[in-house]
C-alpha cells in the first residue's frame, strides 16, 4: 500500500490468525495487522476515534456474536467507515454467502485454501492487487 496503514483481520480461529501473520511475515509485507475476534469488536474498535483508519479489512464470515454478513451491513451503513475496502477471507464457498457479500459491496471474496503454501500465494495476490489500487484516505 502507498500508505503504511494497518490491515484489520477479523478472525477468531487461532491457526488462521497465525497463518495470516506468518504469510505477511514471509512475504515481507510491512503493514501491521490488527486482529479482532468478531464483528462486534471490530465495529467498536473502528468507531474509536483513536483508531487509525485501516487500509483494508480481511473478514472471516463464520464468527460468533455477529456473523460476517451482519458486520458488512453495519459497516456499510456507517458513513465514516463505509469507504474502507473489505475482502472476505473465509472457508465458505456457499453461493448464498458469496452473493450476499457482494450485495453488501465487498471488494473480493476468497476461499481459504487448505495448505499453507497456497494460502501464502493468496495473501500475496491480495496484497499485490491492493498495492496497485488507490485507496481512500
Amino acid at each position: 500500500m502507498q500508505t503504511k496503514r494497518p490491515f484489520i483481520l477479523i478472525e477468531d480461529d487461532e491457526v488462521d490468525i497465525l497463518s495470516v501473520m506468518r504469510a505477511f511475515k514471509e512475504l515481507n509485507i510491512p503493514n501491521k495487522i490488527e486482529v479482532v475476534k468478531n464483528g462486534q469488536e471490530a465495529l467498536e474498535y473502528l468507531e474509536n476515534v483513536k483508531t487509525i483508519k485501516p487500509s483494508l479489512i480481511l473478514l472471516d464470515l463464520n464468527m460468533p456474536k455477529m456473523n460476517g454478513i451482519e458486520f458488512l451491513k453495519q459497516i456499510k451503513a456507517n458513513d465514516k467507515l463505509k469507504s474502507i475496502p473489505i475482502v472476505v477471507l473465509t472457508t465458505s464457498s456457499n453461493n448464498v454467502d458469496i452473493n450476499k457479500s457482494f450485495e453488501n459491496s465487498v471488494a473480493g471474496y476468497i476461499v481459504k485454501p487448505m495448505d499453507f503454501t497456497s494460502f501464502k500465494e493468496v495473501i500475496r495476490k491480495v496484497y499485490d492487487y491492493w498495492q496497485t489500487c488507490e485507496l481512500p484516505d
Binding site: E14, V15, L18, T91, M114, D115
Partner: protein, 507 residues
C-alpha cells in the same frame, strides 16, 4: 237492494191493501145505496104507480129481481177478487135488462119517475165513468122534462115535480161519484198489482242476478281453493327438491373438502420433502465446512513444523510429518467429495438442446487424455434436451475414470450411443483394468475406489456423482466389465430428454 225491493212490494202491497179496503168500502157504499134506491123504488111504485098504465106481471118480478140483485151486490163479496172483467159484463147485462124492464114495467108516459130509478141504478153501477154518467143523466133529465111537458093534463103535484127534478142531478152525481171512486180504486189496484208484479219481476231478476253472482263467487272461490292447493303442492315439491339438492350439495362439499385436504397433504408432503432435501444439503455443506477448519489447522501446523524445525527434526520425524500432510490432503479430498456429491444435480440451469458429440469433445479437451490412449468418438451421438452442466459432469466422470484406470500401453476408449427401440443408451467403453464382478454394484457407491486408498488420487465419488445425476434425470446407469480386459459404462436417459432429436448435424 233487497231492502228496496221489499219496500216496493210492501208499498204496493200496502197500496193494494188500502185500495182493496177502499174498494170494498166503496162497494159496500154502492151496494147500500143501490139497495136503498131499490127499496125506495119499490115503495114509490107501490104508492104512486096507477095500475092501468103499469104492467104488473112484469113489474113485480122486475122489482123482485132488482131487490135480489141488490142483495147480491151487498152480500156476495168474493166476486171482488175478479172485479173488473166479471163485474163489467154482468153489470152491463143487468143494467140493460133493468132499463128495458123498467121501461116496460112502468110505461113511459105515466111514470117517467121509474125510469129515473133505472137511471139511478145504472148510475150507481161501477162501470160507468163520471162523464158518461153525467151525460146519461142529462139525457134522461131532458127526457123527463119533455115528458112532463107532453103530459100537461095530468097535473103533477109540485112536490113530486121538485123531487123529480132534484132527483136526477142528485142520483147522477151520486152515481158519478161512486163510479169514479170505484174505477179509480180499480185503477189504483191495477196499478199496484202492476207495480207489484213489476216489483216481483224485478225481485226475481235481482235474485237471479244475485244467484248468478253467488254462483260465480262460489266458482271463483273454488278456483282459488284449487289454485291454493296447487300452489301448496308446488311449494311442497320445491321444498322436497331443495332438500334433495341441499343434500347433494353437502355431499359435494364434503368431497371437495376431502379432495382439498388430500391436496393440502400432498402439498405438505412435497414441502416436507423439499425441506428435507434442503436440510440434507445444508447438513452436507455445514459438516464439510466444519470438518475443513480444524483440518486446515492440522495441515498448516504440520507444514510449519516441517519448515521451522527442519534442522532439528530427524528424517524419521520429517517422514512422519510428511505422512500427516498427506493424510490431511486425503481428508480434504474426501470432504470435497462429499460437498461435490451433495451439490451434484442442484444447478439452477435450465435444460436446453445439447449436442452430445460437441459436449464430449469439450470434455476431452478439458481432460486432455494422455497420448497412449486412443479416443474414438462415434458420430451417431444424438442431441438431447437436458441440463448442460450435468451432462458434462457425467461424461467427465466416466471418461476420466477410464483414463485413470487405463493400465494398457495401447489404451482405447470409445464413446458413443446405441439406438434401441425404446430410446437407446450412451456408452463409454475402455480396455482398462476392469472391475471384479463382486464390485460391479458397489462401484457406484460413495468413496468406492478400486485402487488402494493410500496410493490413489481418486476419491471415489466420480461414479457416485454420475449415478446421482443420471438417476436424477430419470435414467439408469450400469456397467459391464471383464476384469483385466476392460469396462463399458452405460447409461440410459428417458424419452423426454432423448426426445426425437436425431443425430442430424451438418458434418
Amino acid at each position: 237492494m233487497s231492502q228496496d225491493r221489499s219496500d216496493i212490494s210492501d208499498d204496493n202491497q200496502f197500496k193494494g191493501e188500502v185500495a182493496k179496503e177502499k174498494l170494498i168500502a166503496a162497494e159496500g157504499h154502492i151496494s147500500a145505496v143501490r139497495l136503498i134506491l131499490v127499496i125506495i123504488n119499490i115503495l114509490v111504485y107501490l104508492l104512486f104507480v096507477t095500475p092501468e098504465n103499469a104492467t104488473p106481471w112484469l113489474a113485480y118480478p122486475m122489482m123482485t129481481f132488482s131487490l135480489v140483485y141488490s142483495l147480491y151486490y151487498v152480500f156476495y163479496r168474493p166476486y171482488l177478487r175478479y172485479p173488473s172483467l166479471l163485474n163489467s159484463y154482468f153489470t152491463t147485462l143487468t143494467d140493460g135488462a133493468f132499463i128495458v124492464g123498467w121501461i116496460v114495467a112502468t110505461g113511459i108516459s105515466e111514470s117517467p119517475f121509474y125510469l129515473l130509478w133505472c137511471l139511478s141504478i145504472v148510475a150507481v153501477s161501477q162501470r160507468y165513468s163520471f162523464s158518461e154518467t153525467m151525460l146519461i143523466s142529462v139525457i134522461f133529465a131532458a127526457t123527463d122534462l119533455t115528458l112532463i111537458n107532453i103530459d100537461i093534463d095530468a097535473p103533477v103535484p109540485r112536490a113530486e115535480l121538485a123531487v123529480r127534478v132534484l132527483y136526477i142531478p142528485i142520483t147522477g152525481l151520486l152515481g158519478a161519484y161512486f163510479s169514479s171512486e170505484i174505477s179509480g180504486q180499480i185503477r189504483d189496484k191495477l196499478k199496484t198489482q202492476e207495480s207489484e208484479t213489476k216489483a216481483r219481476k224485478a225481485e226475481k231478476q235481482a235474485r237471479g242476478l244475485l244467484d248468478d253472482l253467488n254462483e260465480q263467487i262460489a266458482e271463483k272461490i273454488k278456483a282459488e281453493k284449487e289454485l291454493l292447493k296447487m300452489q301448496k303442492t308446488l311449494e311442497d315439491k320445491v321444498r322436497e327438491r331443495t332438500v334433495d339438492l341441499e343434500e347433494v350439495n353437502k355431499e359435494l362439499k364434503k368431497e371437495i373438502t376431502a379432495k382439498e385436504k388430500i391436496e393440502n397433504e400432498q402439498q405438505k408432503t412435497l414441502e416436507k420433502l423439499e425441506e428435507i432435501n434442503k436440510e440434507l444439503e445444508s447438513f452436507a455443506y455445514v459438516t464439510s465446512h466444519d470438518l475443513k477448519a480444524p483440518l486446515r489447522g492440522i495441515s498448516t501446523l504440520s507444514d510449519w513444523l516441517y519448515n521451522d524445525y527442519a534442522d532439528k527434526l530427524g528424517d524419521d520425524a520429517k517422514e512422519k510429518l510428511g505422512l500427516i500432510k498427506k493424510r490431511t490432503q486425503r481428508m480434504n479430498e474426501l470432504i470435497e467429495g462429499i460437498l461435490e456429491y451433495s451439490k451434484a444435480g442442484k444447478t439452477k440451469e435450465n435444460p436446453r438442446k445439447i449436442d452430445t458429440l460437441q459436449l464430449i469433445n469439450e470434455v476431452l479437451g478439458l481432460l486432455n487424455p494422455p497420448e497412449h490412449i486412443a479416443i474414438k468418438v462415434n458420430e451417431n451421438l444424438p442431441f438431447v434436451f437436458a441440463n448442460q452442466t450435468q451432462m458434462l459432469q457425467i461424461f467427465e466422470n466416466l471418461i476420466s475414470n477410464s483414463i485413470k484406470y487405463m493400465d494398457k500401453e495401447k489404451g482405447k476408449i470409445e464413446i458413443g450411443f446405441n439406438e434401441e427401440n425404446d430410446g437407446g443408451y450412451f456408452y463409454v467403453k475402455d480396455n482398462g483394468v476392469g472391475i471384479p464382478i463382486k464390485n460391479q454394484e458397489k462401484i457406484f457407491d460413495m468413496f468406492q475406489t478400486l485402487a488402494s486408498q493410500k496410493s490413489t488420487e481418486s476419491t471415489g465419488i466420480g461414479l457416485a456423482v454420475a449415478r446421482k445425476l443420471v438417476n436424477g434425470m430419470g435414467g439408469k446407469i450400469w456397467v459391464e466389465s471383464k476384469p483385466k480386459e476392460g469396462s463399458t459404462f452405460m447409461f440410459k436417459l428417458p424419452k423426454t430428454i432423448l426426445g426425437h432429436h436425431k443425430h442430424i448435424r451438418n458434418t
